[in-house]
């Protein structure tokens, strides 16, 4: 994979231009002073090296004018930068009165976003372009920090107090969302995507209950269900003690716990979702809950459709570049790896997430990566 060398983050909010003007001014100052000092050091070192013929008569050891000038000039420059930085900060801290409010809850290790009309999303934040948005944030456990590099905004999310963050997105697109305050095991996976949408699209999206109006294929709907039901927590890319892998099992013969060989066709898959205990795969017990009565037939069809393509080469399933390891390997590894347990807990708790306790996790991909995959799948 040829590397590219990105030199600046995307500029996607009204702060980005203001911030970058100050940033680049500071870069120029840094370059200027480093050059002055570096040039001085190198030039003097060569000119006045031992035994060089340079004139050393009348050396000076103290010069008040020089001292004052290299005290006062940096001081004035510093105060100028201070004023610039502080006034930008005040702008970034004081949201306009008409800003649209969105609530953000940070918890180990996910971002839970609540839009005013009730639409909720995890590790993804949809915002309209061209309208100020104010996030009202609080943490449920430790200190987190909400960071959107493309918007140049970052703010701690603290337990026991509300903090706010506002921005005005200017460019539609998808941008990184990070937690930037160390918060435990999965700190580096507590992030996702900020989706800046044109105001009209955003209005449609929010009116539609947070669903994209673009129709999804059966496989895509199935993939969405697969993650939201946390199937991938136990059914990963490889067989684990928790559950067998579902990769490429469609239309293969499977050994059951009673020794029987069964063809994994549509009927078998449906049966295994609704009443898994009737036909247990060899080596597994009755860990999987029954989904009878919890899923509609429509849902089951979608899930089965997804399982048919799960594990097939990349072209068959919508995948993304955010798969774990894809940037180092050839990208051939497929999209589904298990959902982390805390994310599942969160989903299972539904309305009452406060009882969640963080649990540790071993090597599984978190909800973020899956969310990113879904994004890339063209949801």
């Amino acid at each position: 994979m040829p590397f590219n060398f990105p030199l600046q983050p995307p500029r996607a909010s009204s702060f980005a231009d203001q911030h970058d003007a100050l940033f680049y001014t500071l870069c120029i100052l840094t370059l200027l002073f480093t050059t002055i000092v570096g040039f001085g050091v190198i030039f003097f070192t060569i000119k006045y090296r031992k035994g060089s013929p340079a004139d050393r008569s009348r050396p000076i050891y103290e010069d008040l004018r020089l001292e004052l000038s290299w005290t006062i000039i940096p001081l004035i420059l510093g105060l100028f930068i201070f004023y610039w930085g502080a006034s930008l900060f005040v702008t970034m801290r004081v949201p306009p009165k008409d800003a649209q409010e969105i609530y953000v809850i940070g918890k180990q290790w996910m971002w839970h976003v609540q839009h005013p009309n009730g639409v909720r999303e995890n590790n993804t934040l949809h915002v309209p372009v061209g309208k100020p948005v104010k996030l009202i944030m609080i943490s449920q456990d430790v200190i987190h920090a909400f960071y959107i590099p493309a918007f140049r905004v970052q703010m701690h999310v603290v337990p026991g107090r509300y903090t706010t963050l506002w921005f005005n997105a200017t460019q539609p697109g998808k941008y990184h969302l990070f937690c930037s305050m160390y918060c435990g095991t999965q700190h580096s996976e507590m992030g996702g995507t900020v989706v800046a949408m044109p105001a009209k699209e955003y209005a449609e999206w929010i009116a539609n209950g947070g669903q994209s109006t673009t129709p999804m294929t059966m496989e895509q709907s199935g993939q969405k269900l697969f993650t939201s039901l946390a199937c991938n927590n136990c059914h990963g890319a490889k067989d684990t003690v928790k559950g067998p892998s579902l990769y490429s099992i469609y239309n293969t013969r499977r050994r059951m716990s009673n020794g029987e060989l069964v063809l994994a066709d549509d009927a078998y898959l449906r049966e295994s979702i609704l009443r898994p205990h009737n036909q247990l795969s060899a080596g597994y017990g009755q860990e999987m809950p029954e989904y009878q009565g919890q899923l509609t037939e429509e849902d089951v069809i979608k899930l089965v459709a997804y399982m048919k393509v799960l594990g097939l080469p990349t072209a068959a399933v919508p995948t993304s570049g955010t798969d774990r390891g894809s940037a180092v390997t050839t990208g051939a590894r497929n999209s589904m790896t298990p959902l982390s347990s805390n994310a599942i807990q969160f989903q299972q708790q539904g309305e009452n997430p406060t009882d969640a306790t963080p649990t540790s996790r071993k090597g599984n991909l978190s909800v973020n990566a899956i969310a990113a995959q879904q994004e890339a799948a063209g949801q």
């Binding site: 911030h19 006045y48 930085g85 180990q108 200190i143 920090a145 160390y182 992030g191 990566a369």
Partner: protein, 588 residues
């Protein structure tokens, strides 16, 4: 600097003011034998050696952790470690490097060894307290290591609450207890420095004849004594909250998690100056002695040191612009942060100006000193990005911060430590090392350092948060991480090579003369290695510090060159031998 000389003709050349040593001389190393004589010593020089061995050991452990971090970050989804392990590795790296190396290394090794000698004293004011400080350091260090080996610790070296006090399942209590004990080691060292500098200066050693190294350590000691108790109390509160559920920082019980940050940074920002001021002291010595010229603006450097020590206590809030502290509070902290930047700038300009019309010897310690100026300049200037509130919002807690403080801490403190080690090694051990290798190593460190940390500025500016194990959400950061890891390989060589050639010099290095560099300062007027009592008779100081005469030396150099040219053997001798022999010619 010269003292009342036995031989009056040697005045002004910094040559021996002491009675000529006997042929079979005893020194602080060979006067007493046996492990017990080392472990129960009150000699500041032996304690410094004990410290040198211990800090080198801890630095090695911290570097291994750094190497693991760099290896793990070559791929966006990690290479071998689990996230929990990675989190413990980076926390161990921070804790070991900050609390057992950076805060301790220069004051406890070079400060301990040379501060008494530089002011013409026979030892520290409180030798047994000095020994106690080493035992406290070792006790704390062992507790920290025990915590890391037996299950590990996470949370980073900053231990923000309520994560550290309520949520972390690692050995936070044990490690914080270790840090707490090491704090007392710092305090005892600080007390010794202050009392020794006040009470034990030789006759004629006025405050403004003190080498800048002593000024730097004096200021550091003040910061240590004022700051360390605060962090000790803070860490103890975290331990109490963890162990006894004492609600201080836990919001569920009415505590305030942000209070911890205020208390922590009240010490830990000044701690940055505890780490860098002694380095400034070393650099002033190196620049003066290898430029062979009095440091330009001596008084300004001395007072800028005190200004940094004082103002350094009023800027802690610049670590907390986005922490939910009041906006107005942040503005005041930002303003004072820009004020404290000025004295650092003054130092850099003065060092550079010292080189003007100097007589520069590019020996290995000087290469480290010049490298320091460049790296510290970049480290200091990138601090402005973070002191400026508008840019800090984006850059704080990213790799930009990581790069910034490594430029100051590794490019600054570590480079100065290496420079000081090369400068004083012949004095401390009585042996000369391979100068050619040492020079090459200075260049390896400089280049390796820049390759390691410059890419981190860019990847931080792109938005990569620090303390991230995985960055598969943003795989475009990979290329800079790979560059950084490559650089860290070179930097690792630059740290291992001195361990090799310095150890080798102990076995078969040539014996060092009393003053192999032709440097000025009381430490160069006593034998190498020094006798246990430092001075056979207490010197009386008559001259100013760094009393070089570049004009005369230049003329001598030219004459020497002419003679060498006539004798047709140019470049046969090592440059420091030349210096020494020339000085003897000039002196007698």
């Amino acid at each position: 600097m010269s003292a009342i000389p036995v031989d009056p003709t040697s005045a002004g050349n910094g040559v021996i003011s002491q009675p000529a040593p006997a042929a079979s001389e005893t020194n602080y190393i060979n006067e007493f034998g046996g492990l017990k004589s080392w472990l129960l010593t009150g000699d500041h020089k032996r304690i410094a050696i004990l410290y040198l061995i211990s800090v080198t050991f801890f630095f090695f452990l911290g570097s291994v952790a750094a190497a693991m971090i760099r290896w793990e970050l070559t791929a966006p989804a990690g290479v071998v470690l689990e996230s929990d392990t990675y989190n413990k590795v980076f926390s161990s790296h921070g804790v070991i490097m900050v609390f057992t190396f950076l805060v301790v290394a220069i004051p406890s090794v070079f400060g301990n060894f040379f501060l008494p000698i530089m002011i013409g004293a026979r030892d520290m004011a409180f030798p047994r307290l000095n020994l106690l400080s080493w035992y406290l350091y070792m006790a704390g260090g062992i507790l920290i290591l025990a915590g890391m080996i037996n299950g590990g610790v996470d949370g980073g070296w900053t231990f923000y609450t309520p994560y550290s006090s309520m949520y972390s399942n690692s050995n936070v209590t044990l490690v914080l207890t270790g840090v707490f004990i090491i704090g007392f080691s710092s305090i005892t060292t600080g007390i010794n420095f202050i009392v020794t500098t006040h009470k034990m200066r030789a006759p004629g050693m006025t405050w403004f004849r003190l080498p800048l190294f002593v000024w730097a350590h004096y200021a550091t000691a003040v910061v240590i004594i004022l700051g360390t108790p605060v962090v000790a109390i803070t860490l103890l509160l975290v331990v109490f909250e963890r162990a006894f559920k004492l609600p201080i920082f836990n919001p569920e019980l009415g505590g305030d998690p942000v209070l911890f940050q205020h208390l922590f940074w009240f010490y830990s920002h000044p701690a940055v100056y505890i780490m860098i001021l002694p380095a400034f002291g070393i650099i002033s010595e190196l620049i003066a002695n290898f430029a062979r010229k009095r440091v330009f603006g001596y008084h300004f450097i001395a007072f800028s040191t005190l200004a940094i020590a004082g103002l350094g206590f009023l800027v802690w809030g610049h670590h907390m612009f986005i922490s939910s502290q009041s906006m107005y509070q942040g503005i005041v902290f930002s303003l004072i942060s820009f004020l404290v930047a000025v004295p650092s700038a003054i130092k850099v300009f003065n060092w550079t100006a010292t080189l003007y019309k100097a007589n520069i010897r590019l020996q290995s310690p000087m290469l480290y000193a010049l490298g320091f100026i460049g790296l510290f300049t970049v480290g200091g200037l990138t601090g402005l990005f973070l002191g400026s509130m508008g840019t800090d919002v984006h850059l704080t807690a990213t790799y930009f911060v990581v790069a910034h403080f490594h430029y100051v801490m590794v490019g600054g403190t570590m480079t100065a430590f290496l420079g000081g080690l090369h400068y004083w090694w012949p004095k401390m051990t009585g042996r000369l090392y391979a100068e050619g290798l040492a020079k090459a190593n200075a260049i390896i460190v400089f280049l390796g350092f820049n390759l390691t940390f410059f890419p981190q500025f860019i990847v931080g500016w792109l938005g990569m948060p620090r303390r991230y194990h995985y960055y598969y959400l943003a795989p475009e950061y990979q290329v800079y991480n790979i560059m950084s890891t490559l650089g860290s390989g070179f930097l690792g060589i630059g740290f291992l090579l001195p361990a090799f050639y310095l150890s080798k010099s102990l076995m078969n290095g040539r014996k060092a003369s009393a003053n192999p560099w032709g440097a000025h300062g009381l430490e160069w007027e006593i034998p190498s290695p020094p006798p246990s009592t430092n001075f056979l008779q207490i010197p009386i100081v008559l001259d100013e510090v760094y009393d070089f005469d570049p004009v005369t030396e230049y003329e001598q150099d030219r004459a020497q060159q002419a003679i060498e040219h006539a004798h047709e053997h140019p470049g046969m001798m090592d440059s420091h031998d030349e210096t020494a022999s020339k000085l003897e010619e000039g002196g007698h």
